[in-house]
Symmetry: C2
Subunit: 308 residues, 2 copies
């Protein structure tokens, strides 16, 4: 009998990778033959976190079948963000903190979504509910996920529950959350080994908004000009993506992790709708997004309102 | 500021009505201005349970707006089973035990689904998680919901968690679950004051299965011939419903609550696909469904497989 695969979304980030590892561990403790896997390459931030707490990267898969018929999704639910053959497997569980869309099952399942900043915060509760102790190294992974998703507690997605969970987990992992967190975010914002092509897919997610097909990519940077100095070349690549994938909008966002602002470069046939949606202006084909750092809470709902 | 409305599905059953009352009570205890409402008439079983534990029926609504902008769904998620203006309100939470389909939000939310027999079983856990005591009369409502959804623990949807929750709740409510349960089920199976038109809508739910629009209605009976003796008249009404609502299938099920079997009468252009799906035969335009009592676990997945 094949095991149950646990995975997060494509173009994995720290919450997606660590939540797969952490939840697979928890399921194993309660007798489920679960294995964490991943749907794409690790980013530098996640690699830093895994290294710090002594973990290898989960195995890369292209498809869940034929090796597994049953899966558990963490940190996502929308089918276009999931494994290629998601329609062919049974989703046993979902643990997530995003909106629900493009998700459907034939059978009842365990679905646990909470409007918190990070999947790890929900997992921390489930450990308690199941009376399983979080080992120090797994606590370190969960702390990394919360720091990553909340940009060190500065994102508007960050809730009091995330802050409390991070405090508990930092203690268990025996690390200073602020110091470790900044080092981890900086490792992730180190773009020196990345091509522009890399940046486009590093943290890109696809969304259906009404009849529009939209990709939103987000890159963290210490100096956003590292990316924006190459805007001309970037736009050519975005246009090619729009054509190849028949997108209505590619919304490329660079986030300044020290000042917590972002700049977006919109490309596609509905690109002109983006700036007014954010009550901003398009200048030099850039939109300055003051105080915007969260795709989930600040970008997706705003674009959904004008395109959905 | 308007309050938060809490409601279950159209054509309400005991779990839907009581879970709205119980969860609204729980939310009130933790400071939320929540009100339980209902989307349709009470059935005899639910009326019996409310009377027994001293509750009035929740207020009937047609639409959530303009009085409320925010809602909590219990015991359902599919939009065609929900309030007419579901697209115009924000769904803050869902507490459910069904498959997920035709459900979409713009924002993250609290979504709690578990593959157990009854919403009340999940609510019983949430009371514990929130450290709120279940009062005796609310325990009685929750026990009624579990007995109703599991047909006194005999449905294949019934899990060990449902049995345990019912035990706890029966003790709190100070009733004998078996005795009270049978009396409640019999009150619900008393069809003497019902017209055939009533029976069609009493517990009817609509489903999208692939491109097919399907309604499955289920009626509990002590003697199924009370209904089947009027099959000719019944089929005429079913045919009218199929025409009026442009259905591909109306699957009318009478369940024998003492022997735990059912008989279905299928009407619609894909009616001939139903009997083979259940490995049964169509005879006298009836399909005998041996051991089938659960729409959710035995009927919906089987029909979805051939129509979806």
């Amino acid at each position: 009998m094949s095991n149950v695969l646990v995975f997060g979304h494509k173009n994995p980030d720290t919450d997606t990778i660590t939540s797969a590892l952490v939840y697979a561990y928890l399921k194993q403790q309660i007798g489920v033959d679960a294995e964490a896997v991943r749907l794409g390459e690790l980013n530098n931030e996640t690699a830093y976190a895994l290294e710090k707490f002594g973990f290898d990267a989960p195995r890369l898969i292209e498809k869940a079948t034929p090796e597994a018929q049953q899966v558990i999704l963490v940190d996502h639910n929308e089918r276009q963000q999931s494994v290629a053959d998601i329609e062919e497997v049974q989703v046993l569980e979902v643990i997530d903190h995003h909106r629900i869309a493009n998700f459907e099952t034939a059978d009842p399942l365990y679905y646990r979504a909470e409007p918190v900043g990070c999947t790890a915060t929900i997992l921390n509760k489930i450990f308690k509910e199941k009376n399983v102790e979080v080992p120090a190294n797994y606590a370190g992974l969960m702390l990394s996920a919360i720091i990553s998703d909340t940009l060190l507690f500065k994102s508007p997605t960050c809730t009091e529950e995330d802050v409390q969970a991070a405090k508990e987990l930092a203690e268990k992992a025996n690390v200073n959350a602020e110091e470790y967190g900044l080092a981890m975010l900086k490792a992730g914002a180190d773009l020196s080994d990345k091509t522009l092509e890399d940046l486009l897919s590093l943290d890109a997610k696809e969304f259906a908004m009404g009849d529009h097909k939209v990709v939103i990519a987000q890159v963290n940077a210490v100096d956003i000009n590292d990316v924006l100095d190459r805007q001309e070349e970037l736009e050519k690549l975005l246009e090619k993506e729009v054509q190849d994938k028949e997108l209505d909008l590619f919304f490329f966002v660079v986030t300044d992790i020290l000042n917590n602002d972002s700049v977006a470069v919109p490309v596609g046939k509905v690109a002109d709708k983006a700036a007014p949606a954010f009550r901003s202006v398009l200048e030099n084909n850039r939109i300055v997004l003051k105080g915007v750092v969260s795709r989930k809470k600040q970008i997706v709902p705003t674009l959904t309102e004008v395109l959905g």
